[in-house]
């Protein structure tokens, strides 16, 4: 086997070497992918027949697909036969016994983020017993949600408890044949989240995968499905607010949002997967398909994402504006430092009448980072009075990085009003000087200016997230000021 292949094996298959003891051999499938693996996976999860069929269809289609090559990111070819597609959840006993056993670098990052001690333990996967009151907190939440009629559970649980909802909505936004990674995900997804907000219900609290992810320890192929029924409202937070070192290096998730009449979903992501070290070794490949469909009139969806992690981020949270008067929004901050690469943006498909969309994208490149905004705004033949406003700004820090903007605008209706603006610049010497002559260190000044640059996006984030996102940016930029 060639050296590069060997490297790749390390990158994709490796288990995170610091701390976590995760080798429960008997509970993992050997690497490889074929129909038997999918059958076994489905059987293990006790899935109904229709889901297995659905997976197999996806798999058969996936076999006929070619790996997409159009993106602006570079990485060695992935050997999909070299990945284990099922790894049993870690039992609590196998985790580190106390924080002392956890990588001190991780702990110092947690401290910088101001995460309380108990949460640190949870994030690091430390086995905690009943003392940990978050467990009971989680239960209280569950009761409160059930009272409102909100279903919020893991995907596997939903398949067992609410098969009719899964059957009705699964794959209706991102079909199992949609694209290479979506098809792969459909074939082998291990778990994920399911949310259903019934008619007219305003979800009493913000939902977060944070509470659930530790319980189920979802793997690399997760699938999220959120359905907002008529007149409902939900704010959903995704991702980890700390560098959760996922042992699997390829992360190919699918997120589907279904928004019915007068409903609204606000989906916020703070993504900080392991970005690799400063030489670009290791790190997560984050290849995610996210799409929302405003299926009926007056539906609204808002994507907010802060991407500071991952070696490669390749995703385009999209909105299909099918219902009349529906609204799509996309707010994004993507930061690439060291050798990180990001090719991210959004797609706004205007189909219904009087639909509007807003895109605010802020890209920051430092070190050797390559940051690409790629977005599509499409106005269909019948999309009367479609309105789009796009603004993408890039900030360059250092002369080794790159910032690229590739917008696509396709308009088939004269009543459409589309505005697109993009600019690229660096932090001005004047701004830096102004801060520094007031006694602020160069590093803090840069962090302050960058936060100002991202403000339009941060203000869309829920409060706690916004605070953490700001701290995260500061950490991710550390050492990039020369």
């Amino acid at each position: 086997m060639s050296a590069s292949n060997e490297n790749l094996k390390d990158m994709i298959g490796q288990e995170y070497k610091d701390g976590f003891v995760t080798d429960i051999e008997s509970e993992s499938f050997p690497p490889g992918l074929n129909e038997d693996v999918i059958r076994a996976l489905s059987a293990k999860k006790e899935e109904p027949e229709f889901l297995l069929e659905w997976r197999l269809e996806a798999y058969r289609h996936w076999l006929t697909m070619e790996h997409p090559e159009w993106s602006f990111v570079e990485f060695p070819k992935i050997d999909f036969q070299d990945i284990s597609y099922y790894s049993a959840p870690k039992s609590m006993d196998d985790g580190p016994k106390s924080l002392d056993e956890v990588d001190p670098e991780l702990i110092s990052t947690y401290n910088k983020l101001g995460i309380p001690l108990e949460e640190q333990m949870r994030l690091a996967g430390v086995a905690v017993d009943a003392v940990f009151d978050s467990v009971s907190v989680a239960t209280t939440f569950k009761d409160k949600l059930a009272e409102a009629g909100v279903i919020f559970c893991s995907f596997s649980e939903a398949v067992k408890e609410h098969p009719e909802l899964i059957k009705q909505y699964l794959g209706t936004v991102v079909s199992q044949f949609d694209n290479f990674y979506a098809a792969l995900n459909a074939a082998v997804f291990s778990d994920g989240s399911f949310v259903y907000i019934p008619k007219g219900v305003r979800c009493p609290m913000e939902l977060s995968t944070y509470f659930r992810i530790n319980a189920a320890n979802t793997g690399q192929f997760e699938r999220t499905l959120i359905v907002a029924d008529e007149g409902s409202h939900v704010s959903y937070l995704e991702g980890c607010t700390a560098p959760m070192r996922d042992e699997n290096q390829l992360h190919a998730a699918v997120v589907e949002l279904v928004i019915l009449k007068d409903a609204e979903i606000k989906y916020s992501t703070v993504q900080n997967w392991y970005p690799g070290d400063e030489n670009g070794l290791g790190g997560i490949y984050n290849f995610v398909t996210k799409r929302a469909e405003c299926r009926e009139e007056n539906a609204k969806v808002s994507w907010t994402q802060v991407e500071t992690g991952s070696a490669i981020t390749w995703k385009y949270p999209s909105v299909v504006l099918k219902g009349d008067n529906s609204i799509g929004e996309f707010y994004s901050v993507a930061l690439t430092n060291n050798y990180q690469q990001a090719d991210t943006g959004t797609k706004m498909m205007h189909i219904g009448k009087n639909t509007s969309s807003t895109i605010i994208s802020k890209g920051i490149s430092a070190g050797h980072g390559q940051n690409t905004y790629r977005g599509l705004v499409k106005v269909g033949r019948n999309a009367e009075n479609a309105r789009n406003y796009t603004q993408c700004d890039s900030l360059l820090m250092g002369d080794q990085c790159g910032a690229h903007t590739f917008p696509y605008i396709e308009t088939k209706h004269p009543s459409a009003t589309i505005e697109h603006e993009a600019s690229t610049s660096k932090i001005s010497e004047d701004q830096l000087f102004y801060c520094m002559q007031r006694g602020i260190s160069a590093e803090d000044a840069v962090s302050m200016i960058v936060n100002g640059f991202c403000k339009e996006v941060f203000k869309e984030l829920p409060m706690e997230f916004a605070v953490e996102a700001q701290a995260l940016l500061g950490i991710s930029l550390e050492g990039s000021v020369g």
């Binding site: 820090m397 002369d399 690229h404 605008i409 459409a416 697109h420 603006e421 993009a422 660096k426």
Partner: protein
């Protein structure tokens, strides 16, 4: 599941059939250049929709029509030529891809300027031609470039000596005669503006009648240090024609290049304006495309900021009515060394009909940090309040709309300094809107 695209056998066979029938067939370096182009084309053929740069423009009609090569110039009415030629210019007239001395005039051309048709002056200017030909088109060469290199029949070669200022613009008039129907013409122009010279070149494209023909024309431009070159392009071919054009330029240090591109004609047109910018050079690209009927107009610009301190300014406007479709693809690449680059790109589109379509793809690719780059795109319709304003002053709705449409397009036309060209472009615009009730004098 990839579908291998096989080059159209009709066109590959044309290449070998006409191998011995072209300008400069006795020049060995040119022959070997053409051979190389033929080989490359035989592999790639014409581009397809699957190629990212061609995703909005389907050229399969060109493949299907199986155009034959125009082998000799058709007959032309002197009055038609006269109408096409601009006052106050030197003229080089090409009919169906062949230089026509009888219509051309270069009287009074100053000593430091070389203007010649390839068919007449190749042997005299061989070293000049050799230094320019294929020097600015980028590799990997596109199918149409190779096709042109393999088959060009004629074209102009222009060289402005150092410190020379040309007194009048040079007009290269390309006319497709009646006989050009279902034929294809390939022309290649070579322009060299030597250090500290100044000149203006105008290319015009007309058809005698509404016939279906295919024009493939490439202009290669080199602007040496401190030289100032203006290049204008007016394409007003028949509404059934297929026009593929390209202007490939290289700007050396402190060079100034102003390119304007006015597209009115052709059923399907695609124009590539590419430039590589040297240190502290200045490049301006202006464009206007006015589409009606089923016209498809693709404008493709690419500016490569290779050196520091260069400035580029790009402004394209589109007016699209009926079933027409406009495409604007612009790309600015800023290399790592190109610090202090200042690049602007702007594209505005006006859709007049609910069947018209516009696709815009403005791209920035930036590898240097101390730069100012911006691009903007708008797609929209006429401002209701502006229409209301005009109507409140007694204009009926259609007149109000026409006035505003004119004003929108006229912004690009007003940028033309050379009066005869401005009038010619204006006339083309007025022709597209006969119902407008607009008078030339108003504008």
């Amino acid at each position: 599941m990839s579908v291998t695209h096989l080059p159209n056998t009709h066109y590959t066979s044309l290449l070998s059939a006409h191998e011995n029938n072209l300008v400069g067939q006795d020049v060995s370096w040119l022959n070997s250049l053409r051979k190389k182009a033929i080989e490359a084309f035989s592999v790639t053929g014409f581009p397809t929709l699957r190629e990212e740069e061609w995703r909005y423009t389907n050229i399969s009609p060109i493949e299907k029509k199986q155009f034959a090569v125009a082998e000799k110039p058709g007959k032309l009415d002197a009055a038609f030529v006269k109408a096409v030629l601009l006052e106050g210019c030197y003229h080089l007239v090409f009919v169906d891809g062949f230089y026509q001395a009888e219509f051309s005039s270069m009287d009074g051309l100053s000593a430091g300027v070389t203007v010649s048709a390839l068919s007449e002056g190749l042997s005299e200017h061989e070293s000049l031609v050799k230094s320019l030909l294929d020097s600015t088109v980028e590799t990997p060469a596109l199918g149409f470039i190779n096709f042109n290199t393999a088959l060009f029949t004629d074209g102009a070669v222009i060289s402005i000596e150092e410190n020379t200022v040309l007194d009048k613009p040079i007009q290269l008039a390309f006319i497709s005669s009646k006989e050009a129907a279902l034929k294809l013409t390939n022309s290649r122009n070579l322009v060299l503006a030597k250090a500290s010279s100044k000149a203006s070149i105008i290319e015009t494209f007309h058809s005698v009648e509404e016939s279906c023909h295919h024009t493939n024309v490439i202009t290669e431009v080199v602007v040496e240090p401190n030289a100032n070159l203006s290049h204008n392009r007016l394409q007003a071919e028949s509404l059934k024609a297929y026009h593929i054009g390209g202007v490939y330029s290289r700007l050396e240090n402190n060079a100034i290049f102003n390119q304007s591109n006015y597209t009115f004609g052709a059923n399907l047109s695609r124009c590539e304006i590419h430039g590589t910018l040297g240190e502290a050079s200045d490049c301006t690209l202006n464009g206007l495309y006015v589409g009606q009927d089923k016209q498809h107009m693709d404008n493709h610009t690419r500016l490569n900021h290779a050196q520091p301190h260069a400035v580029s300014n790009e402004f394209y406007k589109g007016v699209l009515g009926d079933n027409s479709r406009g495409v604007f693809q612009g790309r600015i690449v800023v290399a790592q060394d190109a610090q202090k680059t200042d690049a602007k790109m702007n594209n505005r589109n006006l859709l007049l009909s609910d069947r018209a379509e516009v696709d815009a793809k403005p791209q920035l690719e930036i590898y240097a940090d101390d730069v100012k780059c911006a691009h903007g795109v708008t797609v929209g319709q006429l401002d209701e309040t502006a229409i209301f304003y005009l109507r409140s002053r007694g204009a009926d709705k259609q007149t109000a709309k026409n006035m505003l449409t004119f004003a929108f397009a006229n912004e690009m036309i007003e940028r033309i300094d050379f009066e005869p060209l401005r009038m010619a472009v204006l006339e083309e615009l007025l022709k597209r809107f006969p119902q407008a009730g607009m008078k030339k004098e108003w504008l």
